[in-house]
């Protein structure tokens, strides 16, 4: 069990790096969805039979929302905006990747220092969660388009989820559901906002919005 969990956690880390380095918006959205599926898998691998019916339902619905509904919404707003399918970064892709690696190293050393758990596989999971959260934050500040910022929030939510799984039995996943609800509402609002921004200005470039005055 532990090894399969490690493999999945490393795959999540690799997907994070892919998010930082890829230049296609569609690929980014797919990557976030794949990440959500993997994290759902981790929940089962980590706790297996200890999960009650309630928790299983929570995990399944959360995966369905994050890997099904939200990517569909994002693809829909991507189509409606007629925007180019490219990510517009402030920080270049290679540099983002390097920064990502540095963040990964810091996250691993932090997870070791925090010593939240004695099990090594949980330390890996905690490091993965931290790294996913930091990746999400980095995506939010380093990309221009509004849609990539929504993606950043989603990645952050994935990270919080990974963090939550490590302690799922002590701290119920219900808290996690609350976070997911917030993000869901957030994505809805952002989706509508993106449409409005697009209708007003013919682009969804947040960089240019900052010079607006009322």
């Amino acid at each position: 069990m532990a090894t399969w969990m490690d493999v999945t956690a490393v795959l999540v880390i690799l997907l994070n790096l892919r998010l930082l380095c890829t230049s296609r918006l569609g690929t980014c959205i797919q990557t976030v969805a794949q990440q959500a599926v993997l994290l759902g898998l981790i929940a089962f691998l980590q706790h297996g039979s200890d999960l009650g019916v309630e928790l299983i339902l929570i995990v399944l619905s959360s995966v369905a929302i994050k890997a099904g509904l939200l990517p569909w919404l994002l693809f829909r707003s991507l189509r409606q905006c007629n925007t180019s399918r490219e990510v517009v970064p402030f920080v270049g892709f290679s540099l983002s990747g390097l920064i990502g690696l540095a963040m990964l190293a810091v996250c691993f050393s932090m997870a070791d220092r925090l010593a939240l758990s004695e099990l090594p596989c949980q330390t890996l999971l905690i490091a993965t969660g931290l790294f996913t959260i930091v990746t999400g934050l980095f995506l939010i500040v380093s990309r221009k388009k509004a849609i990539t910022q929504v993606l950043g929030y989603l990645v952050m939510e994935n990270g919080i989820w990974a963090f939550g799984i490590a302690f799922a039995l002590q701290e119920p996943l219900l808290v996690e559901m609350g976070v997911l609800l917030d993000v869901l509402v957030g994505v809805f609002v952002m989706g509508i906002t993106i449409n409005h921004i697009n209708r007003e200005f013919d682009h969804i470039d947040t960089d240019q919005l900052s010079v607006l005055r009322d």
Partner: protein, 302 residues
């Protein structure tokens, strides 16, 4: 016993490595629906070239003449340190992985010098590309080997690969290192997604362009050196992909040799099914290798 198996690996590598290119070409031909050239075509080519005389341009100096010899010598020396499953390395000491990597570097340096010595702008172009790409693959290789070092606690290639089966605690490190090794193999040997070994088109060529002015025995040495280099990287990859050692020399040796053959088939399949990357995208592929090797190092270090 130790020296016998090591020496027999060197002997096998030196006799069988041209066959690898034959296997790759045969697989490519099958994919294209052709019968393809004989499996031993490179042997025939080598013997044909060795019987011919070499032509030297008047603008070249002694640098051009020692290029092929030095390259072949460096590659064969690097081969001495490389272990193959079941055979082990011929020479082994602590830190020999750096010597192995940089002997290959010396070989490349001499090829580049010989190419620059011709004074042709065309060959200078190829040399520049070769050096640029190798500057990206070398750190990947060293970092991947460093990850293996940390994983096994051994500093020699032989020791590292010998104890790889026992030291399997860090997750996913071996698959990551294998992926890095595969990318390095394709880039260092000028195979398909990086360089097309068949074309002689100036826009795409990297390695082939540097050896355009060599002829006769010099060209034979270069082609033979390239085949041995392919063997070296395949052996390194097989050791990571199949880290098992049964303890029986015959079984392990068969695993190693068959593994190298399978890798040649895989390279052939990749070349038939993939398109060559645009030159601008090659550094991206190589930096994926770099990122993967760094991730594996971080996973081992924690």
């Amino acid at each position: 016993m130790y020296y016998v198996t090591g020496l027999s690996h060197v002997f096998l590598a030196m006799t069988l490595s041209p066959l690898l290119l034959g296997i790759i070409n045969r697989v490519k031909a099958r994919f294209a629906g052709r019968r393809g050239q004989p499996l031993c075509q490179l042997y025939y080519d080598l013997f044909k070239l060795l019987r011919k005389g070499a032509v030297y341009s008047r603008t070249t100096t002694w640098v051009f003449r020692i290029g092929p010899m030095g390259t072949l010598a460096a590659v064969v020396m690097a081969l001495l340190f490389v272990p193959l499953t079941g055979f082990g390395a011929c020479v082994s000491f602590s830190g020999d992985l750096l010597l192995m990597a940089y002997l290959l570097g010396v070989g490349r340096f001499l090829t580049v010098l010989a190419a620059m010595d011709t004074g042709s702008a065309f060959e200078g172009l190829g040399a520049s590309r070769e050096v640029f790409f190798s500057a990206l693959t070398e750190p990947s290789l060293i970092l991947a080997l460093a990850a293996l070092c940390k994983l096994t606690g051994q500093l020699s290639l032989e020791g590292m690969y010998g104890t790889l089966a026992m030291a399997g605690t860090a997750p996913m490190v071996l698959p990551l290192v294998s992926a890095v090794m595969m990318i390095v193999l394709l880039a260092e040997n000028a195979r398909m997604p990086v360089d097309d070994p068949n074309t002689h088109l100036e826009l795409t060529m990297i390695h082939e362009v540097m050896v355009l002015d060599h002829s006769g025995p010099d060209l034979a040495m270069i082609q033979y050196g390239a085949a041995i280099k392919l063997w070296i990287f395949s052996a390194l990859l097989v050791g990571v992909l199949i880290p098992i050692r049964t303890g029986m020399v015959v079984v392990d040796g068969l695993i190693g040799l068959v593994g190298i053959g399978v890798i040649a088939v895989v390279v052939g399949i990749m070349e038939s099914t993939m398109a060559r990357l645009r030159l601008l995208h090659v550094p991206q592929l190589l930096s994926i290798g770099l990122v993967l090797s760094l991730v594996s190092l971080i996973l081992v270090m924690r």
